[in-house]
Symmetry: C2
Subunit: 285 residues, 2 copies
């Protein structure tokens, strides 16, 4: 939170310290809002068109008008990234249903949505965790039934991530009916012993990951066949390799699940290959 | 939102227009917070000790330190109610995990929680809807699995209530596995044809309603036997009477569910008796 940081709020670029929302913002009272995160690499936005398309889709699913078309969003994102001089990190975007006297039902249709963006400068490509590999735990998936909507109603994910932190690991994979749904802020993948790249098929049970989609497109280049199906926890523990994907983790090798080493207990070769391929793609723009 | 309205934010009583929270408040970014609502009748708080006990319990369940003991909460509530001259309506309280750079995991333990309160002046006792009776629809219960925690992650409830509004009715009763869990902002009750007062037993599937508990204590005075069990939708449609309870609706007669008249299609006599008993209790303090 440096003093010079600039954020975007409702049409204005303003110093971080001045960026505040009224207590009656529906994002604050009801988690009535949507967010997205795009990575920044070499000063450029990664997979951004897909993030903006998902933002539009999430907003539509809960009936919030998208305040900007994709070109305008990208113009605003780019200006924010440039004003902050961020060459590597991420840009966060949030849209809520706006400010109105507290009432569960939607306010009048002319209520302007709240639009907020900020950047975080951080190392995302040369991330030491990707060299060492991440450890994960499994936790119960407590979330609601519309996880395909990227809403700010993230309390279940907060509790899951905190369990991971308290266990001294990097991520929590959420489990429902004995199968892994996804990570608290990532998509879960395994590489099976017969060289299949396995991840859960899209449904309302999980977020349609943008990095997930890109990695699936790269599977053939890594000589992997794709299987979209449920992953039982027992199968994950016995996988040849495992990893998770997200906008900021890219492809993150998993070397341990619930204290059990995965494969050789170090980042797997196919996972490393996928990470390289993804970084090449991200850098190519 | 009158110009003279005073709200409470982090130790200060200040004009409504000045009450703003930083964009990094975890309530705004993650729905990482808890709320409560107490009714005000004849200038006094109704069932307030129970609301404050539930606030404390909810905060504990998600590991947020309760910033005040009950005596201090009540002192602050009372001062706010008096400053606004509210004799009938409600006081809303919200506590979030505070302000910190965005990261799913909890911020450092010394991060001060955000504490916010406001009042709404409204007619709660002589509510015309209670004379006429409310109509409700049933909707799918989309919520997470810890509904016993009164968190601000309310997007599912917002969507449910909006469906009710669009159907031209007052409330949505949420249904899971064929049984009614509760209303979007209320507890569901029926009176069976054999004079049983039926409501769902407490569990993680629903909020432990404060007004629910008070009404159950009054059942004997209305010559009703209590049955805490699941209510299948078909049984609700065929009930002798139905009603819902909440801090601001008190006991609200239901005269129609999914377009089907309940009982005589007007507020039932036992429901009216329970409403009177509850109002007497609330006024007695």
């Amino acid at each position: 939170m440096s003093a010079s940081r600039i954020v975007y709020l409702n049409g204005e670029f303003l110093p971080f310290e001045q960026a505040k929302v009224p207590i009656m913002d529906r994002g604050f009272l009801f988690a009535d809002g949507i967010y997205e995160v795009s990575a920044i690499l070499d000063g450029r936005l990664v997979d951004n068109a897909a993030h903006l398309a998902r933002l539009d889709r999430s907003l539509g699913e809960i009936g919030i008008r998208n305040p900007h078309d994709s070109a305008e969003w990208e113009r605003l994102q780019t200006e924010l990234v440039q004003r902050n001089g961020v060459t590597e990190g991420l840009v966060y975007m949030q849209v809520t249903r706006g400010v109105a006297e507290r009432d569960f039902a939607y306010p009048s249709a002319d209520t302007p949505p709240t639009v907020m963006m900020f950047t975080q400068a951080k190392t995302v490509a040369a991330n030491p965790l990707a060299e060492k590999g991440a450890r994960v735990i499994t936790v119960e998936d407590l979330r609601w039934k519309r996880r395909d909507i990227k809403s700010v109603a993230l309390l279940a994910q907060v509790l899951a991530k905190q369990q991971a932190v308290e266990a001294g690991v990097s991520e929590a994979w959420m489990v429902e009916d004995g199968a892994i749904t996804e990570g608290s802020s990532s998509t879960a993948f395994i590489v099976s012993r017969d060289r299949k790249l396995v991840t859960r098929p899209l449904s309302t049970a999980l977020l349609p990951g943008i990095t997930r989609a890109s990695v699936l497109k790269l599977a053939a280049e890594a000589d992997l066949t794709i299987e979209e199906r449920l992953i039982p926890v027992a199968e994950a523990l016995d996988a040849a390799e495992a990893f998770y994907t997200s906008a900021s983790a890219f492809v993150m090798p998993v070397v341990e699940i619930d204290g059990r080493a995965i494969g050789e207990g170090k980042p797997g070769p196919l996972t490393k290959r996928l990470r390289e391929l993804y970084l090449d793609l991200a850098r190519a723009g």
